[in-house]
Amino acid sequence: MVYLDAASTEPLHPAARDALLSALDSGWADPARLYGAARRAQMLLEQARADVAEVIGARPDEVAFTSSGTQAVHLGVLGTLNGRRRVGDRLVTGAVEHSSVLHAAEEHERGGGTAEVVGVSRSGRVDAETFARAVSAPGTALACLQTANHEVGTLQPVEEAAAACQEAGVPLLVDAAQSAGRLPLPRGWSVLTASAHKWGGPAGVGVLAVRKGTRWRSPYPQDERERRRVPGFENVPAIVAAAAALRATAEEAAAENARLSALVDRVRTEVPRLVPDVEVVGDPVLRLPHIVTFSCLYVEGEALLTELDRAGFAVSSGSSCTASTLRPSHVLEAMGVLTHGNVRVSLPRGVSEGDVDRFLAALPDIVRRIRASLGVR
């Protein structure tokens, strides 16, 4: 199988595998206890925290580990809104945020709060000025913006948004799930969230960083773990592995990004040349190095995924009926681009040029056959 779905989950980095196996033996005990094995687990946990903090540009005591990126976002959004209730109940988000942000916003609205969604351009980028206007409205308790979009790879104007938020005295939650470890993280965030399995760590580890001085109150019942930010016993071996993967990925990023980005450019150029009636979506320049998304006219997304899978290619799609939903992706909808026949190709670390070429060789005939089956000439 040629795996081209790194944006769903990046395969485990070898450094994470080694760290995980060793920490399963040395870091299994309860880090909150006082005997030798517990102290070892605690040391491993705090070393992992320091390592992650360094890469993301935070202080160790600002970093908490969650059980997923989604949980980090839910806690980040709802906890910050909770902490700022006296200021107001307005939440501002971009239109193409991850569903975890939008679901947290819905929860906030169900509780009587308000949410304003800032639209995006055709390339999926939030307009920085519109965002700045939205956060400057009175009663704004929190603003959320992703570093980069998970479906089309477009980078968001986080530095500008952070400046506007600072000016307005509004905390900014930055969802860095798709870029942490791959790109330097923007400064100016008040809350930062990320997910280890997106950078080659194991699943089940998320990061919630809350800047000193940001008001935050847990939406959950109180628990002692992770400085009272995240409930439950930490998965120390997985956290150790996540930190090892983050360090390794960040060290390799400069060289690997250039390679992956050139392969993405090849896909962006070749797919419209090889397949008629294709729209490549997302910003061609202001983008992540490893994600490219396109939509094929007159093709059903589910059929495309099935045929690509049969031919040995693992990709994902924002078309309806491809992700247990009858709705197309809210990202593609907000951009106003074709939602059917959609394919997201996201390149994992170490993917070969040959794999990308094999994908490009297989795609035209698959699209042609699906179109023919629907009577499209």
């Binding site: 239109a95 995006v120 351009s121």
Partner: protein, 106 residues
């Protein structure tokens, strides 16, 4: 998360919605030369039907596609943009779904 919001989809360029707004304001809803009933059909079928049949109307005439697949609401205007036809506007219809109006440009 599926609510439709104004200002999305590059709306600030004024591209897809501009003519629709103008038509509504002027109250000049010209009758469609052809109505394609794609209710109950999933994308891309409504678009394939539109692409097949748009040449049956005279140049400059309006085709109306009735569709209730949520993807059609986004995809028919996107098809117009890619194929250089004009998306005139989309209106909700009583039976659920939309009447999506397209002007043949060539």
């Amino acid at each position: 998360m599926w609510r439709r919001r104004s200002g999305a989809g590059g709306g600030e360029t004024g591209e897809p919605g501009a003519e629709a707004v103008a038509e509504t304001q002027a109250g000049t809803r010209e009758p469609a030369a052809l109505t394609i009933d794609a209710l109950g059909r999933k994308c891309p079928i409504p678009i394939i039907m539109l692409a097949d049949q748009i040449n049956q109307v005279p140049m400059g005439a309006v085709v109306e596609v009735l569709a209730d697949d949520p993807a059609a609401y986004t995809d028919i205007p996107a098809w117009c943009r890619l194929k250089s036809h004009a998306h005139v506007g989309s209106a909700e219809i009583p039976q659920g779904g939309w009447a999506i109006r397209v002007r043949r440009n060539y």
